[in-house]
């Protein structure tokens, strides 16, 4: 199969979201810095967050291009090693955090990221974990399907081990329920689209629910998060809703956000969508939701039109990755589900989260150049409407 033009809409949506995020960070960065300084005695300058965000977005775009350029086969080949590497890093982050050596940032006892002081960049190994699971999970499903072992022990043992390790390293050690849910979503979606028999799928879902309930009960801050939400006495949600509410139809206008002056926690990171709602109102927030929906829809369309099953499933996992972030973040901010403390892809300030998501989207764009739907310039007649027939079951890549 010949390469054709990639899906430009995916790249466009990603860049639009990044640009919006840059504008918002520029508008509220100074106010957040002042509130932060007053509350903690730090000395952020008014432009600190903006310039750091510019750098983060620059690196994210580089990551997106890298994801687009680096041969997918090369990455898939090393997926297993990558997963183990990520697992070791996850463990290391926990150990270093417990030892209190410094190179790790901890928040309320949850140590999730390395911190490299000289270039002041944080790195959360769980993001690498997501990439490697997307790659290795899709490889596993494809190879077991080819050998007819999908749904057997030789599939479930490595697949479940991968998740169990994640649940222990990320969920239990790092107390990061949000990321655990994201990875679970990725694995479920891959398994779902990958054709796991429904009965097995149901059993897996059941086990997951039990483990999930166990994790929630064992971590106090998660219980609090739940009860806090239930009693409606959640400062974060209240202020998030005030942000949206005061925004109204058109918003208070760029630079006029008041909630970012310290009322709304995490204005730049987790809560940035609330600030968008305050700044540009229902119109702005609605457009962002639509932007995200278009991005997600285009990703799933690429998945659908890609013949090679591993690449297709990789797209599905990226879809699951992004949509679970979106659901948990926006759902939390709108008070629909409990707050998770998770970033909104391409919008939240800085960090490794945006870089890895951009890399993943870069891979999807790479794959979008190999779909069968749009290769109308091939000398064969148009294959419109022939989806899933001619190349069905084929794993061959040309």
């Amino acid at each position: 199969m010949r390469k054709h033009r990639s899906d430009k809409a995916i790249a466009l949506m990603t860049v639009i979201l990044m640009a919006v995020s840059l504008v918002i960070v520029y508008a509220i960065g100074g106010r957040v810095a002042q509130a932060e300084n007053a509350a903690t005695g730090k000395h952020y300058s008014d432009t600190y967050f903006f310039f750091h965000h510019v750098a983060a977005i620059g690196m994210s775009i580089a990551a997106l291009i890298a994801g687009y350029k680096i041969k997918y086969e090369f990455l898939a080949k090393h997926a297993k090693k990558m997963f183990w590497f990520a697992a070791v890093l996850c463990l290391l982050v926990t150990i270093l955090g417990r030892m209190n050596v410094g190179l790790v940032t901890c928040d309320e006892g949850a140590c999730r990221a390395f911190y490299i002081p000289i270039i002041s960049i944080g790195f959360a190994p769980v993001e690498l974990m997501k990439i490697s699971i997307a790659l290795y999970g899709s490889y596993l499903i494809r190879s077991r399907r080819e050998s007819g072992e999908l749904g057997t022990k030789s599939f479930w043992v490595p697949y479940a081990t991968m998740f169990a390790l994640t649940a222990i390293l990320v969920g239990a050690f790092q107390k990061d329920l949000g990321s655990t849910v994201v990875i679970a979503m990725m694995m479920f979606c891959m398994a779902w689209v990958g054709g796991i028999p429904l009965k097995q799928f149901g059993v897996a879902l059941g086990i997951f629910v039990v483990i999930g309930a166990f994790l929630i009960m064992t971590a106090e801050h998660r219980v609090q998060r739940l009860t806090g939400w239930e009693s409606g006495d959640n400062y974060h949600v209240e202020n998030s809703l005030i942000s949206f509410g005061t925004g109204g139809l058109m918003g208070v206008g760029l630079g006029n956000s008041i909630q970012s002056s310290g009322y709304l926690p995490e204005s730049l990171t987790d809560s940035i969508f609330s600030i968008i709602g305050e700044t540009w109102g229902f119109i702005g927030a609605g457009l962002i939701v639509i932007c995200l929906a278009v991005l997600l829809f285009r990703i799933i369309r690429v998945a659908e039109r890609t013949e090679a099953q591993d690449s297709s499933l990789l797209c599905v996992s990226v879809f699951a990755w992004i949509i679970s972030h979106v659901i948990m973040n926006i759902g939390g901010m709108l008070g629909i589900i409990p707050m998770k403390g998770i970033t909104l892809p391409f919008l939240s300030y800085g960090g490794t989260s945006m870089m890895f998501a951009a890399f993943a989207v870069g891979m999807v764009i790479q794959i979008s150049g190999w779909t069968k739907r749009t290769n109308i310039n091939e000398d064969s007649s148009s294959r419109r409407g022939q989806r899933g027939t001619r190349y069905a079951g084929s794993s061959r890549r040309s």
């Binding site: 809703l241 509410g245 139809l249 009322y263 609605g286 939701v289 799933i300 926006i330 759902g331 709108l334």
Partner: protein
Amino acid sequence: MENRHWRYFCLKLGLAAVVVIFLSQLFFVQIIDHEKYVREANSMRVKQYELLAKRGEVFFSDGKGVTPAIMNERTWTVFVDPNFIIKNAGSSGVLHKEKVQEKLVEILGERITVDWKDVWGNEDSMYVEIAKNVDYKTVAAIKEANLRGVGRKETSRRIYPAGTVGAQLLGFTNAEGVGSGVEGALNERLSGKNGMLKTVTDVNDIPLSVGDENIEVPAQNGDNIVLTIDANIQRNVDRVLKNTVTGSKGAIRAASALVMEPTTGKVWAMSNYPTYNPEEYWKESDPNIYVNRVAETPYEPASVCKPFTYAVAINEGKLNPDATYYNSGVTKVDDREINNAYGTASRVGVITFRKALDYSLNTGSVEVLRLIGGGSITKSARTTLYNYLHDSFGLGQKTGVELNEATGLIISPENEEGNAVRYANMTFGQGMNLTMLQVAAGFSSLINGGDYYQPTVIAGTYNDGKIDAAEQKSAVRKTISAGTSAEMRKMLQEVRSENGGQNDLPGFRVGVKTGTAETLENGVYTSKKTNASALGFGGENRDDALPRYVVMVRLDGNTLLWGSQNAIPVFTEISNYMLQYLRMQPK
């Protein structure tokens, strides 16, 4: 792979559901509940602050510029949060209460005004003031000690750089804004007007410039007032009175004095002794010590008022000062006999009215009233006298000075009590209640050519190192003719030659009239305790020169005091000081 299709469809359906749920929730929160959230946000974020106006400062004049009289000083109130300290002791740098107490005692020492048992007694209390009016250096030491749970807030207090000088005149205000002296009477002008700031604030209550709820009404600072009171004169008069009272070995209970410029109404000094320190006014037990008796305590000034009676008669053309009458030492009015004062027995016989004033004979001034009435104390004579005293000279009514003052009392002839006996007494300053300020202001017109000036203590305002002078008020009315006034000056200079004139600095013209008044004790006049007064003027030794100053002295006795013996030396000392201070040319 045929089942892959519907599995994709499920994901798309999920995506669509998420979009629909999010958009509808956004719609509810942002459009339907918009108003509710705006109200919620405002109640949380909009704060109203009072912008405090700076209280105006008060200055004395001092001939060249100004001298600070009442200034603002930054001070601090130190407080502790027992609840915080007891709860958090031992963690994150919070010391135990014993340690906190020890450190505070070390730094503040005597300034601590509370019992430590009360401070730690109530664990729920979060704010206990432990020291007030703490100076900058001390509060800096507290800051340095970095004690958590100990706070300090800036306040301001009034300081009096000249100490007790002019204490009753300057006065003070208490926490409720009620007070005495300039501080009390000019409170509104000094206070200014607090402003208001309604603003959206950030979470740390720092005002933000965004939002449309912001209203700012700036504070209007109080006026910095320059008094006509001259620091040098005031200080000197204060000193003279202090020496007089303390040197009297208890004979003099209290002394007051007033110095003013007769040609403008400007008051140069208002002094009272005993006095107090206005910075620590609360230490005084007797509130009478705060009273500016010059303006607030009326009394019967006695013979210092005789010149008014004479001036009325001369101005009405009823009296030739060189005419004579027979002084028998006593005169009968209705059923009462009016005597001359003690020690005037030798003056019995035919005597000129001029001499009667020199010797301060009561019979003389009663006789003058008879002359006004054409031979007897008729109602018309009384009405004439009343009109002059009350309406022209302003006795028995408020002068309008910018201070608290008493009205005093002169009984009108229309009143039943305004009979001949009373009016006979009034000719020599008894039977009416007047403040020194009223008498001195009326007297000023009596010797300045007949122009009544409303007395004033405000010279202007002081801003950016410059005096913004108040408008010079012109005379409010004519009391007597210039000729009568000139005659009165001459007569009073003659009186002075009999009353301490030999002690005047040579080459000036000084006039005076003394007074000795019996005082009321339990409603009955007693001659065991008297008030002694002296009222006079001084100026250059030229016929065309008007007097430059008026001095009035009042001494309240525990025993028998005499105007000529006790008040005259005080007058002389102040008068001689004025002659020099005003740099007049002797001739």
